[in-house]
Every structure is written in C-alpha cells, then in structure tokens.
C-alpha cells in the first residue's frame, strides 16, 4: 500500500528549545493515523511542518509524493487542514469563507457553490450560511472549518485537535463525518490528546513526547504491551487508611482518587480478595468496586513515563 505521508528525521527548534526532535513515521493510504501526545509535546508543530505552514529545520517530509519544501503548492492542493483554533474569517459569512476557499484552490464557481451547499447541509450550517462567522458558536466555527477543509475533496486530511472543547453534539457530528470520509477513501492524520477518541477512530497511533516519538503501533497492540497491569477503583462507606490496604496480596500500589482508592495490581483476583478482607477487618462496607482494563491512556502514560529528556 503506498505511503501518503513519509517523514524522516523531522526536526524543528525554537531558539534553544527543540520542539520536534528527529522524528520519523509513515502513514499509509486509507488509514486513520492518530498522532498523540500531551500538551507541548510537538504535535501542532509537526502538523504545521507537514502542511507547509512553517519550515522545518531538518529532515524531510513527503506528502502525497511531493516534497513539502520543494513542491509545497502541489502538496497543499490535495490536502485539507483543520487547525487547532478556528481560523475562518469572522468578518465574512460562512458562504463567503467557503467561496474564498474555492477560489484559493482553483475550483470553478459552480462546483464550489454546489459542494459548499452540500457540506453546509451535512454539517447543519446551511440555515446560517449568510450569517457572519463572528456570531457562530465554537462548535459551529469548527464545523465550518471542517467544511472549508473538505471543499476541494482532499485525499488527505490533517486535523489538529478537531474536537477540543466542543459540545457533545458537534463532537459526535465531526467524528461521524471523519469515519464516513475514511470509509470513502480519505486518509486522515488526526492529532489529539484524547486517548478515547484515538482508540475509537485510529488504525494506528504514534505517540510523541517532548518532541520525540516514543511509540508507533495499533492501539490494541499498545494496550497489549501493558496488559498485565490492571486498575481497581474501590470505595467504602467509611474512611480506611492507605496502610490498611497496601502490602496486601495482589496490591502493588494504592492511591487516592476522589472519594475512592485506586489500586494498581498485576493480579486482580488476589487484589479483590484483599480488598474484601480489609473491609471486613475494618467493619466497612464496599460501596463500589470497578476493575478497569488498561486503556490507551494507560498505555500512553506507561510508555512515556520516565522518558522525559
């Protein structure tokens, strides 16, 4: 399967701070690739370099076969970009923003108008197409940005935290549209720090921390790498001190989590028995007991722990 994104030794520094440090990866045609990492890890900087917004300091990136430094216009012509912050022109209406995009991508006016109408309808904005964007809510602006990115039918779509801070309705609408686009053949490069979103959407994920790639695999494989670790959340009807729980069979670590105790264990069966034993000894009743399978979040934390440069 051909690679639509090929990155080698990509590097970017701001003064003495290295934002992206010699990273490399490939994205295959038709996949949803999640680019994960905490705030400040270098995700947005990477996307900006891959979309030709800022220059790279070292390495190379080929987008749809075009070197983004040597042939930026050819590469940009076939990609769509949804940035982290809505950047539609707020003094223009949604319709005017879309028509501007059509002209900037060299589309015929009739084609732009038809496509804009379809996209606005699909994203629930057609009724407000002639309203200035400054009156739009955050969710509406983000949906408009998605429409602007899709107007020219890109084969590769970059999204940088597309659902950050959005209401449930807008989030679900955008995620559903991304799934549909991918089923239609669009390759998606999704930057997020929402592990749940990445887990549900992505075929593969790359994890970046402090500018360096620390993992690159399918979400299930990353979770499998830490599957021996489980978490148990337990709450009691009265206060139980941590030393009454720690050191018992199966309990590796005890930590307070709100009104609950979060138990880390590599033997859930023994840990549950220990919790029952502790509650009996203290005359306490267990109010809730939940065993949590490792999540991508856990995988992320485990894979990056202690690797801070």
């Amino acid at each position: 399967m051909p690679h639509v994104i090929e990155v080698q030794d990509l590097t970017k520094a701001y003064g003495t701070t290295i934002a992206v440090d010699h990273i490399g990866f490939r994205v295959e045609e038709g996949e949803i690739f999640g680019f994960l990492g905490p705030n400040g890890a270098g995700k947005t900087t990477t996307v900006r370099m891959l979309t030709g917004v800022i220059p790279m300091d070292g390495g190379s990136a080929r987008i749809l076969g075009h070197d983004i430094r040597a042939e930026p216009v050819q590469a940009k012509q076939r990609i769509g970009v949804v940035p982290e912050t809505s950047n539609a022109y707020t003094d223009l209406t949604a319709w005017q923003n879309l028509m501007l995009m059509g002209e900037l991508y060299g589309l015929e006016h009739g084609h732009s108008a038809g496509r804009a109408r379809d996209l606005l309808d699909m994203l629930g904005l057609l009724g407000k197409k002639d309203q200035k964007v400054q009156a739009y809510s955050k969710g509406m602006k983000q949906r408009l940005i998605l429409a602007m990115a899709l107007l020219h039918e890109p084969v590769l779509l970059f999204l940088d935290e597309p659902t950050g801070g959005l209401d449930v309705q807008s989030t679900q609408m955008i995620l559903a549209m991304l799934r549909d686009l991918n089923e239609g053949g669009t390759t998606i490069f999704l930057t997020t720090h929402n592990m749940d979103e990445a887990n549900r959407l992505c075929h593969r994920v790359g994890i970046i921390r402090s500018g360096r790639m620390v993992a690159l695999d399918a979400p299930e494989k990353l979770k499998a790498a830490i599957d021996r670790v489980h978490l148990i959340d337990a709450s009691f009807d009265r206060e139980i001190p941590p030393d009454a729980l720690s050191g018992r069979a199966g309990i590796t670590e005890v930590a307070r989590s709100g009104d609950k105790w979060r138990i880390t264990t590599d033997n859930p069966d023994a840990a549950v028995r220990s919790l029952l034993e502790a509650s009996r000894e203290r005359g306490a009743t267990i109010i809730s007991l939940n065993t949590l399978a490792p999540s991508l979040d856990d995988a992320f934390l485990r894979l990056t722990r202690g690797k801070e440069p």
Partner: protein, 251 residues
C-alpha cells in the same frame, strides 16, 4: 491546471485581494490614515498658505491621498491576520507567500486608485484644471503600485500587534510628506532638503501630478517615471524576499 503556475497563482492573488477589500478597507485605521489625514493636512496648509495657488495645493492633496490610502491598510493586514490566525489558513492553502503579498498589494492599489479618483473628481468640480490626463493616469498607476509595495514592506517585522506596525508606518509616512515637495515647492528647498527629497518616491509622484494640473514640473518627466518604476521594483523585490523570511515567524 498547474496550481503552482503563474496564471493560477495570479487568480488566487486576486481572490485574496477581493477578500482584503471586503474585510479590511472599512476599518477605523484605514479611514483615519487613508482619508481623513490627507484632508486635514491639506486644510491646515490651505488655511495657512493662502498665497499658494489652489492647483498647487490640490495637486499635493492628490499625492497625499494616493500615498496615504495605498499604504493605509497593507502594513496592518499581516499583523491582523497573524493575530486572528487567518494567516495560518492562507499559508495552508495552495498559494505561495509572494501570492499572498501580491493579493494584499492589489487590494491596496485598487483602494488607493479609487479614493484618489474621487478626490480628483471633487477637485475638477471645484475648478481644478486637468492639463495632462494620460500622464496623471500613468503616474497614479505606477505610484499606486510603488506605495502598495512600500506598505507591504512596512509589515515585514514579524509582530502580530497592528498598533506596533501602524506606529512604525506613521513614523515613516509623515516625514515623507513634508520632504517630498507637497507643501514646499522643490525649487524653494535648501540643498539638504533636496538631498532628502530625491530619496522619496512621493517626490516624483508629486512632481508628475503637479505637471498634470499646473503644467510645470521640476524633474524631467521621464526621470520621474523612471525613479517611480525603480522604487516600485525595489520595494516589491525586497518585500517578497523579506516576507518569505518573516511570515513563518508569525505562526
């Protein structure tokens, strides 16, 4: 279609120009620096210089009008768009940095020519003679391009605070008005004044406008056109090169 080809990039520059006209040309700073300022300067000198003939003063107003309007918005567009993140939107589209700069220059040029045309019509209605219309038209077109490029040059510093750029812009524009023969005839300037005046593109445009409405000029007409063309090419080339370097710093 070759998206990177000159015809296609020119079409996209025109789209950017239309967007600029729609969004930026009715904002406060434009009205203040582009229209009111030359009018107030003109009125101040008109009141204080009753012995100077009307065509002489009005030709100065026409020069100032084009100069102020063509440089009113262009310096602030990049900072405005940088702070609103819309510049990032443009940068992610299939357009080059020179295309974005050219689009902004076209919008400035059209705005400058439009407002200057209104000022000219008002002058004609007040009895201003127009002796050489073709010369005036060519001069307005060339000087408009030159001043638009100068405006974009002023926006090169990679700040996203428009007031910083407007201050820098005012620091350059106001002194130029006073050393370019608008209020003091070039022939009456001291040698040091002339030495400064020849370094200002506004001097050559003012000389051409004065020729068009009074029939007199200080420099040979060809020298005026040559100087304006040289300034225009230099400003355009330098602004394209420098924006390539500084635009990514605004992101």
């Amino acid at each position: 279609m070759n998206p990177a080809g000159i015809p296609e990039q020119a079409r996209r520059a025109w789209a950017i120009a239309k967007k600029d006209i729609r969004i930026y040309y009715l904002k406060g700073p434009v009205l203040i620096f582009g229209i009111f300022m030359p009018v107030f300067l003109f009125l101040a000198f008109f009141m204080g210089s009753r012995n100077l003939p009307f065509p002489f003063l009005y030709s100065g107003l026409l020069s100032m009008t084009l100069f102020f309007t063509a440089t009113a918005v262009s310096p602030a567009i990049f900072p405005w768009e940088g702070s609103a993140r819309t510049l990032e939107r443009l940068a992610s589209c299939p357009v080059t940095i020179p295309t974005i700069v050219l689009g902004d220059m076209i919008a400035s040029l059209l705005f400058g020519i439009g407002v200057t045309a209104v000022a000219l019509l008002l002058g004609l209605a007040m009895g201003l003679p127009l002796l050489h219309a073709a010369t005036l038209g060519a001069a307005v077109l060339l000087a408009g391009c030159c001043f638009s490029a100068l405006g974009m040059l002023l926006s090169v510093p990679p700040t996203n605070v428009p007031s910083n750029i407007m201050m820098l812009s005012s620091l350059l524009k106001f002194p130029l008005v006073f050393v370019s023969g608008i209020f003091i005839p070039l022939g009456e300037m001291p040698p040091w004044g002339m030495a400064i005046a020849v370094c200002s593109p506004l001097t050559y445009f003012t000389d051409l406008v004065r020729y068009a409405v009074t029939g007199t000029n200080f420099f040979p007409l060809l020298a005026d056109f040559f100087a304006l063309a040289a300034f225009m090419l230099a400003f355009t080339a330098v602004t394209m090169v420098l924006h390539r370097r500084t635009m990514p710093m605004r992101m």
